[in-house]
Each structure stands twice: as C-alpha cells, then as structure tokens.
Symmetry: C2
Subunit: 165 residues, 2 copies
DNA sequence: CTATTTTATATGTATATACATGTAATTAAT
DNA sequence: ATTAATTACATGTATATACATATAAAATAG
C-alpha cells in the first residue's frame, strides 16, 4: 500500500525545528551537510537582506551595484564590469541598471570611445541612499554575530570552496 | 564634474577577479566581509546546483521536497510540514508540489481527517529519480572540497549565524 | 448551534533570475 | 575595403520568489 492516512504523525514531526533538522541524517557526509547548511543559511540571510532593503525600494543586488559604482569615485563603469563584480554571478546587470536609472540613482550614457559600451555613474541621490544605509547596515543588522577570528575562518573556508571550481 | 570618460580604465579594473574583489576593502569589518562572502558563495553554489538538476527537469527546491518525502518512508506529509522543513524558508510549497505532481513524482490527496490538509506522497517515479541523483550527488559534485574537520567547523559557524536570529 | 476566529492551502501580482536569442558596434580576416 | 567573427549590451521567455489576499474547513466563543 503506497500511502497511509497518518495525519496525526505530523504533530510529532513538527516538534523538531529546522535547526535540529539540518544537523541530522540524510546527509552522505560532512561535506554535503555543510553544503546544504550553506545554501540554507544563505537563504535565511538573503531573505533578511531583502527585507532590510525593502523600505528603500532597493533589492540587495541593486545595493551591490550602487556600492560598486561608489567604489569608482565618480568614474563610470560598464555594464560588463558590473556583471563581473556583482556578488550574484550571471545576473542581469542590464536590467538592474534599468531599475536604478528609473529611480534616478544612476546615469547611463553611451561611451563615446566605444559605442557598444554604456558608462554607468552613480548620482548624488544614489550616494545619499548609500550613506543612509551605511549607518543602518552595521554588523548587527547584517546578521553575523561572529568574533573577528570566527569571521576570518568562515571567510577562508568560503574562499576555499569557491576556488575549487 | 560628475562623470568622466575613462573607458580605458575598465581594462585595468577587469584584471582583478572576483576572488580578489571579495577579499578587499569596502567592508566595514570582518563580519560584513564574511557575510557578503557567504551570500556570494551560496549564490555560486546555488547556480551550480541549478545546473546540476537541470537535466532531470528538477529545481533544487523540488529535489529538496522529494528528499523530505522520501524521508517519511511512504507516510504522507502535509504542505505545511514541507514548508517548514524546506531549506529555503518562506517559499511556496503549494506551487512546488504542483510542479512535482505534473511530473508524476508525487501524489496529492485531501487528508480525510482534515479536509483542509493535503497529504503528499512520493511516487515510485519520484523515488527512482532520487536514486539516480544519489549516485551523482557525491561530495565532489556538491562543490565542497573541505576536509571533514573543515566541514564541521563551517557547519558550526553557519549554525551560530542562524541561531542568533 | 450559530457566528467568529483560526488554520491549511491556493492564487494573484510584481519582481527576480537563468538562459537563449537579438542587435548594433568593433575587430579580424582575406 | 568588404565580409566574417567577436564583443557589449538588450530583450524575450519561462520559471521562481516574496508577499498579500482569497477560500474553504475546523476550532472556538457566545
């Protein structure tokens, strides 16, 4: 018999939370467990980020683009470079810039030396939003409450994971 | 003057890859650096996952649902429980089950004891796909090449991050 | 026992994402 | 110099996601 009616069983299962769950069986090895934990935790933090930026009508990716632009100190940056430097790879820099342009946070002009390229620059409005966010986005809000040492270890492990590929 | 035409500068910027980039300035502190690295790395791995599952016409989330169902050894599970146990929180279990049902990987029936609930069960087709994937999804494919010890450390750090909230 | 509240799931909507394809400008080839 | 190949960016499409709202069943209140 393929399926049994055991609604009452659900009560029992609900008792163990996600934290218990992730620590548990169904993992081939420690590597897979860490991997799934990574995806899971990043999902959590990513959601927290989304909600954090929402009042500013920004997505996390849009914020990242603004940060990249600010990092250039007024020098224009191409779509391609933004694409390369963005935290989420292979996303659509073009459309992200659309959104930021609509909000007057960036300016997009055709690069005169190569008309295929677009030169993107952050506006004063963009800089102001970043300034506001700088104050709010301290380590507490970012959701990481590790010591400096732990942060370094985590950072190194993540680098090791990425560099493999 | 707000924007300068410096297309040539891009060449220079492109030289440093993402790996260099993430290690660098623009971070308030080690915590924020680790946080952004986490989002970034998880994005990488998540993309790798997406591509890994694509030939099977599954998303990573759909795979996770199937794993949860298999874990119940044939006992049905409600939408709500799936929602709770899924690795990506707050996603739409209802629509995930839609997709899996279309592919005949799960069966959805109204729970007779509580007609609001749906009892979801994995089918033999679903179990077979999982079996195929089990073989492919070894630690190598999952993108983590840490030692056991490192995996444990990473796991602990991630738990610490999540538990804070 | 009827009305209200709560719960479980489904659906609508706006935005995001992955990926394929399109288009125009530049570079390379002959 | 003209054609072909490459590059930079934009757009179309299918799917995913966050969140608000809807619907129907069950629990609770009076």
């Amino acid at each position: 018999m393929l399926y049994v009616y055991t609604c009452n069983l659900h009560q029992h299962l609900k008792v163990m939370g996600l934290e218990e769950e992730i620590k548990q069986k169904e993992f081939k090895n420690k590597q897979q467990r860490a991997f799934l934990n990574l995806i899971f935790t990043a999902g959590h933090l990513s959601l927290a980020q989304t909600r954090f930026f929402k009042p500013y009508h920004l997505s996390a990716q849009q914020y990242n683009v603004l940060r990249i632009l600010r990092g250039q100190n007024g020098n224009p940056v191409t779509i391609g470079l933004i694409q390369e430097r963005m935290l989420d790879i292979q996303s659509n820099a073009s459309r992200l810039i659309d959104k930021l342009e609509e909000k007057n946070l960036v300016i997009r002009i055709v690069c005169p030396k190569d008309k295929r390229q677009m030169d993107i620059t952050i506006t004063n409005d963009g800089l102001e939003i970043l300034k506001e966010l700088d104050d709010k986005l301290d380590s507490n809000e970012s959701g990481i409450i590790l010591t400096d040492e732990e942060s370094d270890i985590l950072n190194d492990l993540l680098n090791k994971i990425r560099e493999k590929k």
